[in-house]
């Protein structure tokens, strides 16, 4: 059985934030006397993560996802609670701990802007005490996996966003970390670049057995990579478990669109005691519970003369969207 690599017990994090009223009066008052508010961003959270797991953090903007990632990698001190990552207390930031982790942020970059990424890779390698020969080998391996061999020698500022993100990944993985913290890694990338990045992360996880924790607003990232998700709402964990189970729980229905031959059939169908989603000319769409689905559909098909039929499940974004607005 795989052992826990991350353990979080009763973690709380508060920030003091100064609020400002609008207008000149508010600005002056803010300048002379600041009103600070103590804001709890993370509230008594508990979870454990096993070695090699890929876990997605879901939540609306400001839910506390990034704060949790930053506490886990040691950038922020938790206000309360116990935390252990790879056997260390992250906020002590011991070298042995930092050598095991990496943080990749979609909206921030560590590569040096005016020079080629290869120079930043060598710099990072020297920081992690990797010999030049070994660094060359790792850069070759990773650049082949990420397909950026030809961009290694161009100044970073000349690279496209997708190429830059791949180079950022390479810079962050050169020391072969066993825990990856990814904060919206596919932000701003086009569809193909997103897909390539996801594929890379999946292969990396399989090949190295690394644990990956990621936040993303692109549901494809989550559904492609994560079997387990942790939903966060206003600093609380509202769900922690399998993604599949969550989707079942949140989308208990399927939509059935029926095209009838006559308007009369539509009227008859309307009389059935079913939830109507939409009516358009000769087409009617019902929302049917998955439990009664088979029987209801059989009844309709036997009773009515139907021209065409289409069954759809609600789009995943719509389902996940519910998590972002629902607390439970």
């Amino acid at each position: 059985m795989r052992k826990n690599i991350i353990e979080v017990k009763d973690i709380t994090k508060s920030f003091s934030i100064s609020a400002k009223s609008p207008g000149i009066k508010g600005t002056l008052r803010h300048f002379f006397k600041r009103k600070t508010i103590e804001k709890k961003v993370v509230k008594n959270i508990n979870f454990e993560i096993k070695e090699g797991e890929i876990v997605g953090f879901l939540g609306a903007n400001g839910a506390g996802k990034t704060t949790i990632l930053k506490i886990l990698c040691g950038l922020l001190y938790p206000s309360n609670g116990y935390i252990s990552v790879a056997g260390s207390r992250p906020f002590e930031r011991e070298a042995s701990f930092l050598e095991k982790i990496t943080l990749i942020m979609g909206q921030k970059q560590q590569l040096i802007w005016d020079i080629p990424p290869i120079d930043s890779f060598y710099l990072n390698a020297s920081i992690y005490g990797i010999e030049k020969k070994e660094a060359i080998k790792r850069i070759k391996e990773l650049s082949e996996m990420l397909e950026i061999e030809s961009e290694l020698y161009l100044p970073v500022r000349k690279l496209s966003l997708g190429q830059r993100m791949k180079a950022e990944l390479l810079a962050a993985l050169i020391h072969k970390p066993s825990i990856l913290f990814l904060d919206e890694p596919t932000l701003g990338l086009d569809i193909n670049a997103q897909a390539n990045l996801r594929k890379f992360l999946q292969i990396y996880n399989k090949q190295t057995g690394a644990t990956i924790l990621l936040t993303s607003h692109y549901m494809k990232d989550i559904t492609y990579l994560c079997k387990r998700v942790i939903c966060i709402h206003e600093g609380y964990i509202t769900y922690d478990g399998k993604l599949e189970k969550l989707l079942k729980k949140l989308s208990p229905n399927k939509d059935v669109s029926i095209i009838c031959r006559s308007r009369k059939d539509i009227e008859n169908l309307k009389a059935l005691n079913l939830e109507i989603k939409n009516i358009n000319d000769n087409q009617i769409t019902f929302t049917i519970n998955k439990l009664d689905f088979k029987n209801t559909l059989k009844k309709i098909l036997n009773k009515y003369d139907i021209e065409d039929l289409q069954i759809t499940e609600p789009p995943i974004d719509e389902v996940i969207g519910k998590i972002l607005i629902n607390k439970k």
Binding site: G74, L76, L123
Partner: protein
């Protein structure tokens, strides 16, 4: 601390900085021209002060030129290391890229203080040494091994004081986010260092040698060269520099506890 690793990282810092500077050739040339013109302007200003008098605070023009030389070296050090690096702290904190620094298995103060190097400042350091060599000639100074060692020690201490002051002010960015102006004030105080400590009034002398020991850092190495510095002054400078440096390190570690990182 693994010295070999730090030297290797430092060589990569220098390499990347030179590569960046060489990307912008014209800028490099303009910076060079600015340092030469800056030195000419300073010497001219000093000569104006001495137009109607032979001595200021007990120093004649030829002796005061040594202070100008020391100031040029220190200003060169400032432009080579302190200015390009420490003004970046504000950027690191505002943009939240300090996150990347803190997650590296390397001393964060080392990273922040040495990541960049501006090669044009090195020219200023050379110019400073040139001015001092010229002063040897006009002041009839013969440099023996003892005064050479003392000059080296006092210069290193002066650099350490200047660095610590600069770093202390920059560290406050963690709370106040924008403190560019504070380092600018320190820079203008540094201009005071071009004049002998004795040329200021008593109260200013106390201020510039204790609160912000700017005159201290130029006057003492100059006095060492002229053989005028008593031992207690040198010991005091050593003590002050060590205290300031230790304090700057402790203050940085303390400030990091309050680092909240920029929001995503």
């Amino acid at each position: 601390m693994n010295i070999k690793k730090y030297l290797k990282v430092y060589s990569y810092f220098n390499y990347s900085s030179f590569s960046i500077e060489l990307e912008y050739k014209i800028n490099l040339f303009i910076d060079l021209l600015t340092s030469i013109l800056g030195l000419i302007g300073s010497v001219f200003l000093l000569s104006i002060f001495f137009t109607n008098t032979d001595k200021i605070g007990g120093w004649n023009f030829n002796q005061a030129l040594i202070i100008q030389g020391i100031y040029t070296i220190l200003n060169g050090v400032t432009n080579t290391w302190f200015n390009p690096n420490l003004k970046e702290i504000v950027k690191y904190i505002r943009e939240g890229t300090l996150d990347y620094v803190l997650l590296k298995p390397i001393d964060s103060q080392f990273w922040i203080s040495f990541k960049r190097i501006s090669p044009t400042g090195l020219i200023e350091i050379l110019l400073g040494f040139f001015v001092i060599s010229y002063c040897f000639y006009i002041n009839n100074i013969t440099l023996n091994i003892w005064s050479f060692i003392l000059l080296t020690i006092t210069l290193i201490c002066s650099i350490l004081i200047l660095y610590s002051l600069w770093f202390l002010i920059s560290t406050t960015t963690i709370w106040f986010v924008k403190t560019w102006n504070a380092t600018e004030v320190l820079r203008s105080f540094l201009y005071m260092g071009r004049f002998p400590m004795d040329s200021f009034s008593f109260s200013l002398r106390i201020f510039f040698s204790t609160v912000i020991p700017i005159t201290f850092i130029t006057t003492i190495p100059s006095e060492v060269l002229l053989g005028l510095s008593p031992a207690w002054k040198i010991i005091l400078e050593v003590l002050v520099s060590i205290t300031f440096f230790i304090f700057s390190r402790k203050f940085w570690k303390f400030a990091l506890r309050f680092y909240t990182s920029a929001s995503s």
